[in-house]
């Protein structure tokens, strides 16, 4: 039924006649609303016609096809565990120094199979590198702006005013081709983030300039399999609403590639919400409950035995839980719209003997396993009796 037909009919008014006259309603009428396109140097890949439903119980729901991680230059599976410890050295005062270089670059990235987004990135990836350190470490980040727009690095942490990375503080916005070194001590411990704070802020954030900043407590945390999950979203047609929601950028990626973990082991998620345009985001875990550490700035949970939490933009926290039985357990934003638009994934919980197979199924190996279980910058805190 074309729009012209619908218009024609509405003038003839069959539709309303039918709806008003008979008990039944009229029929399928439609409007087609083409939206404007936007610049993109790179064309989309070839078409996809294969089905890849994300879960049997959802029938044919989900996205079609696969994202080319090689072309993107990053793999969301690796992003779960690729902690960036920086160049480590010891300062004369005995303090640990971690040096980083972060380069802002404009880059088209594939955020859903076949859907490209003209992102602004830190180091060519969204989210940017996961900076991981110990509380009290000295952090020195050389920021190079290779983008055509001015940008900054704004850390959620404690630092002097001129290191705040906002217009008017210190160097303010770093212009194209300029460099600035941000420097501060990492505190407090917790699950934090950094992002660009150039104006207009909304655009600089939703274009992809953000990343995780994890500060381990000196006391250490209990041994666990750890993952970082940055909840983000993309407004592909620039209408002020997101078309694709995700964790670590690619929609439904962990539904297509379930994250492997073992029965009984402690799983720790560093969860950060950076979604633009929507006031809140949420996380819901299936078939288990978790303890929650708001902002990760405490060693004791701030919320115990819950299976759903909400986060406003830039809010974050640590989740800890164990699965009792093997299975493919779902987790997603319990904002169904976000879940169905990409923010939904699965854990593949298996017995230890089945773990290598689960790893291989998603193309991961022992290195990935080691990173996920030995990621902390301080020794695990092993409590008596555990």
């Amino acid at each position: 039924m074309s729009q012209s037909m619908r218009r024609f009919l509405s003038r003839r008014d069959f539709l309303r006649a039918g709806a008003a006259g008979a008990a039944g309603l009229a029929g399928a009428a439609l409007l087609s609303q083409p939206s404007i396109a936007r610049p993109l140097a790179q064309g989309p890949g070839s078409g996809h016609t294969g089905h890849s439903p994300y879960a049997m119980e959802h029938g044919a729901a989900g996205m079609v096809g696969e994202v080319d991680n090689v072309r993107n230059g990053f793999d969301p599976m690796q992003m779960l565990v690729d902690w960036d410890y920086g160049q480590v050295s010891i300062l004369p005062n005995g303090q640990t120094l971690r040096e980083y270089t972060i380069v802002a670059v404009d880059k088209d990235i594939e955020i859903a199979p076949g859907v490209f987004f003209p992102a602004w990135t830190y180091n060519g990836r969204v989210p940017g590198p996961t900076i991981r350190c110990t509380e009290g470490d000295h952090i020195r980040i050389k920021f190079v702006n290779a983008s055509v727009h001015p940008h900054t690095l704004h850390f959620h942490g404690v630092h002097p005013f001129e290191m705040d990375g906002v217009p008017g503080a210190g160097p303010g916005e770093i212009a194209t081709g300029q460099t600035f070194t941000y420097e501060f001590d990492a505190e407090p411990f917790g699950c934090h983030l950094y992002h660009c704070h150039a104006n207009p802020l909304k655009r600089h954030i939703h274009k992809g300039l953000y990343g995780a900043f994890i500060v381990d407590p000196k006391a250490g945390r209990p041994p666990a399999r750890e993952f970082v999950m940055v909840m983000n979203a993309f407004d592909t047609n620039f209408d002020g609403e997101n078309e694709v929601y995700a964790v670590n950028t690619v929609g439904h990626v962990y539904a297509r590639r379930p994250i492997p973990a073992q029965v009984g082991e402690l799983i720790r998620l560093y969860l950060i919400n950076i979604v633009e345009f929507d006031p809140i985001n949420s996380f819901h875990l299936h078939a288990e409950f978790f303890d929650y550490y708001d902002h990760g700035t405490t060693l004791e949970p701030t919320l115990r035995t819950v299976d759903t939490i909400i986060q406003a933009q830039a809010q974050r926290g640590i989740l800890e839980f164990r699965y009792r039985w093997p299975g493919q357990y779902m987790y997603h934003a319990h904002i169904s719209e976000f879940a169905e638009l990409g923010w939904m994934g699965n854990f593949n919980i298996v017995q230890p003997e089945d773990f290598p197979a689960a790893l291989a199924q998603v193309g991961m190996d022992e290195t990935w396993d080691r990173r996920s279980t030995q990621g902390a910058t301080v020794p695990w805190r092993v409590e008596a009796g555990s």
């Binding site: 729009q3 024609f8 539709l15 709806a19 009428a29 439609l30 592909t236 078309e243």
Partner: protein, 396 residues
Amino acid sequence: MSTKTQVELSKRVSGAGWLLVLAPLLLLGIILALIVTTGGGLRELAGPPVEKLTVQRVILPEPGMIQIEVINDGPQPVTVAQVQVDDAYWSFTAEPSTTLPRLGRSTFTIPYPWVAEEAHVVRLVSGLGATFDAEIAVAVESPRPSASLFLRFALVGLYVGIVPVMLGMLWYPFMRRLSNAAMNFVLSLTVGLLIFLAVSTWLDATEFAAELPAFWQGVPMVLFVSLISLGTLLALSSRRGERTPLQVSYLIALGIGLHNLGEGLAIGAAFSLGEAALGSFLVLGFTLHNITEGVAIAAPVVRVSPGLKHFVALAVLAGGPAIVGTLLGGYAFDPVLATVFLAIGIGAIVQVIWEVGKMVIRDNARAGRPAVNWISLSGVVAGVAIMYFTAFLVKF
């Protein structure tokens, strides 16, 4: 042009002269090739990609299935990377391809559990992240072709087209008894009816046209096709001189037939939206609205007796297209063809307004009345008024 000059002209152009015709075309080809390969200094003008898709048709062939037919009427190829239904990504297949070249068409099939009598939105997400929406205002299973549905469609077309035209023609014996002045009134009334039909057909055609993919240039197309249709019919009549009354009747039947085709298309399409949409009340409304069409067709032949055979043929010509239109609208609606047919109809109707108008004027002259007089004017006004007020039955 005389035969002599024609010969001279062809003599001059023959031989090497043809190269002169080709030279500008060759140069054009070279310039195009230069622009395509080197950019021709226009690189700076190259803007961002523009993606445009127009949804042609949404079909709900069965529960749990949505099909949408899409045409790319933008300047460059568009790839549909993902499909959302009601803000949820959904699996889909595309025939023949997810990539639509310029002017290319594809049908997307989405196994989505749509809910009867509720609204849905299908959103196509392009490779560049642009979105194109197809709104399903009220979901109703699209009718599947079956013998009984085919018969019902045909029956509706019969009630809307042939029945009213034949009923209208039954006034023929009455009209034959009318005085000259009264018959002048009836012919003027016919002109009024036709004026109403011309206006309403024009509005229908331009509404279709406005929604066609941009490259069709819908509204100009309606105008040009109407003018060509009118011009062709006028040229045919001037070659044969004065028309016989029966010829005028046939022309009126043709114009009305094309108009009824459009009405049938609308009814058939409404049918395919859900049978509840089309009450018998509405069909009766059209029967009543169209009854005067029979009068219009019979009026020119009041003073000749064409015989039953011609009356049947006229009724079929004028009313039959309603049946064809209903079937087409229900099963295979094509907005471009619909627009073209309606535009032809406009030309045909305007031409018969001209023909019947001449009859009225001649009649007035014979009776010594001015061309525009109160009888004729009130006839025209009555014709328009009848159509206008009976249209109340089919517009809500």
